[in-house]
């Protein structure tokens, strides 16, 4: 990657540089301006009944400290952490099998099954979970049909139900990131440990797992951010009983038309996401370092 810079001014030695960068600059600029628009709105006063905004104020951020909102932030971070850790635990065996399976058919099968939900979008997946978790849904029908339970178990509109659906959303991306990390481990290290007498469990715990550290960190942080971004899942599976920041933003924006407060929630949410990710990376620094030779 560390190519030496060609002599500056020699335009012909860097063909297409300007032409190819210009569209990216325009796109990045639009994105940056949109983010600045949110920042700007977050410090404006809300004029009830109007879409115009008033003067500068910090009232939106002060309003977030009210227990009602503060709890939503705490619940959201907790759900994101829980989802990220569960996705890691369930994603790891799948990623390992995806990379290490010797059969091309099994590899392709795991890859398609894992990647399809990633591209499916939140609505289809969330709806599917409603059908699975509902009181007349799949799980309760099966349990009642086999006589294990008499009354349906309440899964919809509970934290458990929302967590199950959220893990389903983040699992694919965690698997892809872990698989990329596992794929880049040189099998020679594992063979060396094996030839020195380590059993499969020991090889995995002392060689494979630590060497996939960068993938673990990337998977955890991405799962955290994606869960924070989830909207339809807490909205429909949570049914108002489980609220995340995304649901508040939508409600304030489109039910109350209080866009300044919605923008302030976005700013706080974004700050919280970046702080959490930084904290996770800091905590897991030894893991992230180990993979780099």
């Amino acid at each position: 990657m560390n190519q030496t810079e060609p002599e500056s001014g020699a335009a012909h030695s860097r063909p297409f540089l300007r032409l190819f960068t210009a569209p990216a600059v325009i796109t990045a600029a639009i994105f940056a301006v949109a983010m600045l628009a949110i920042l700007q709105y977050s410090v404006r006063a809300h004029i009830p009944g109007s879409l115009d905004v008033g003067g500068f104020t910090l009232a939106n951020f002060a309003g977030m400290l009210r227990p009602l909102y503060a709890w939503v932030f705490i619940d959201t971070v907790w759900l994101c952490l829980l989802t990220a850790v569960l996705s890691l635990i369930f994603g790891y065996p799948l990623a390992y099998a995806l990379v290490r399976s010797r059969s091309l058919f099994i590899k392709s099968f795991i890859l398609i099954v894992t990647v399809t939900p990633l591209f499916l979008g939140e609505v289809v997946r969330t709806y599917s979970w409603i059908v699975v978790l509902g009181n007349n849904g799949f799980i309760n029908s099966v349990l009642r049909g086999t006589g294990i339970i008499e009354q349906p178990i309440q899964l919809l509109f509970t934290v458990t139900g929302v967590t199950i659906a959220l893990v389903h959303v983040t699992l694919p991306v965690v698997v892809v990131m872990l698989a990329a990390a596992i794929a880049h481990i040189d099998p020679a290290y594992e063979k060396a440990a094996e030839s020195l007498g380590a059993g499969p469990v020991r090889v995995f715990l002392t060689v494979t797992l630590p060497l996939s550290g960068p993938g673990i960190v990337a998977g955890l942080t991405t799962a955290f951010a994606w869960t924070f971004s989830a909207f339809a899942t807490p909205q429909l599976v949570g049914g108002g009983k489980v609220n995340m920041v995304s649901n508040l933003v939508y409600q304030l924006g489109f039910a109350n038309f209080n866009f300044p407060f919605a923008a302030a929630l976005c700013v706080a949410g974004l700050a919280l996401t970046y702080v959490s990710i930084a904290a996770m990376r800091l905590t897991l620094r030894p893991l992230e370092k180990v993979g780099l030779h």
């Binding site: 990216a24 799948l94 890859l111 591209f119 499916l120 794929a183």
Partner: protein
């Protein structure tokens, strides 16, 4: 050499675990498929009578038709723009260093971390200030921003694996940069470009949260129409359209895997 019993048991437990996790991923798709063929309007398992009425319903429902139509327009525009912007910039990232490169890269990859509702709200506020709400332009811009990281990544990985000596050979034989680009680089990049475009197209068509913020009645996409449907009705029409979504998405990805090698594009192939 026969492996000891403990190893074989471990290997069996590992396989059972993988099958269980795959089962967890497939379960909702399986259940929704069963529900979609059920004749009754209320969900019940197992279904008493098989029928295709919910599929007729889904295909003929006006909002779904309009959403499909709008979604195709937005998807085609957004995926091609994202492909051009992303492929061009991936080329630049791979080849050059210049001031501001990292900032530009960070901004374009940020939508992977910035929540979709935040991107949606930001674009909506911007659109409102410019009097562009309720236009397709706004939705397309929003989708380009959201899908660009995926195009960048898949084209970048292909570029990274490309043998530069082929380009050098063409150049040393007197080919001008444009000719090298069109006769050597682009053809070699084809798998990365096609899969990058496909990722962008699928993600754009299926995107929901940001679309909910930036679309209006006139520009409503299919996932937004589906979300509105779930909130109002409980019949299996939604299950039927979900099955169509799942089948089309899985088929496209399986085709991409067969012809382009998704393992390479996603960088999950065992290094030699």
């Amino acid at each position: 050499m026969a492996k000891p019993l403990s190893h074989r048991m471990l290997s069996f437990a590992g396989k059972a675990l993988v099958v269980a996790i795959l089962g967890f991923i497939i379960l909702p798709a399986f259940v929704v498929t069963v529900a979609s063929f059920n004749d009754k309007a209320i969900l019940s398992f197992p279904p008493q009578q098989v029928s295709l009425r919910w599929f007729y319903n889904a295909i003929n429902y006006r909002d779904f038709r309009a959403g499909f139509h709008n979604g195709m327009i937005i998807m085609l525009a957004a995926s091609f723009i994202a492909l051009i912007v992303g492929a061009a910039f991936a080329y630049v990232i791979d080849r050059y260093n210049f001031r501001g490169k990292q900032l530009l890269e960070a901004l374009l990859l940020a939508p992977l971390v910035v929540p979709h509702f935040t991107v949606g709200l930001g674009i909506l506020i911007l659109a409102a200030q410019m009097g562009l709400t309720r236009t397709f332009t706004v939705v397309v811009i929003c989708h380009v921003i959201l899908v660009l990281p995926f195009v960048l990544r898949s084209v970048y990985i292909s570029l990274h694996n490309l043998d530069h000596r082929l380009e050098l050979a063409a150049a040393s034989l007197g080919a001008q940069p444009w000719r090298v680009l069109f006769t050597v680089t682009l053809p070699l990049l084809a798998p990365g470009l096609v899969s990058g475009w496909l990722f962008a197209a699928i993600l754009s068509f299926n995107e929901f949260t940001a679309s909910l913020f930036v679309t209006a009645q006139r520009t409503q996409t299919l996932p937004v129409a589906m979300y509105n449907y779930v909130r109002e009705y409980a019949d299996p029409t939604m299950a039927a359209i979900s099955v169509i979504f799942i089948v089309v998405t899985a088929t496209l990805l399986a085709l991409a895997n067969a012809f382009l090698g998704l393992g390479k594009v996603l960088n999950v192939e065992q290094a030699r």
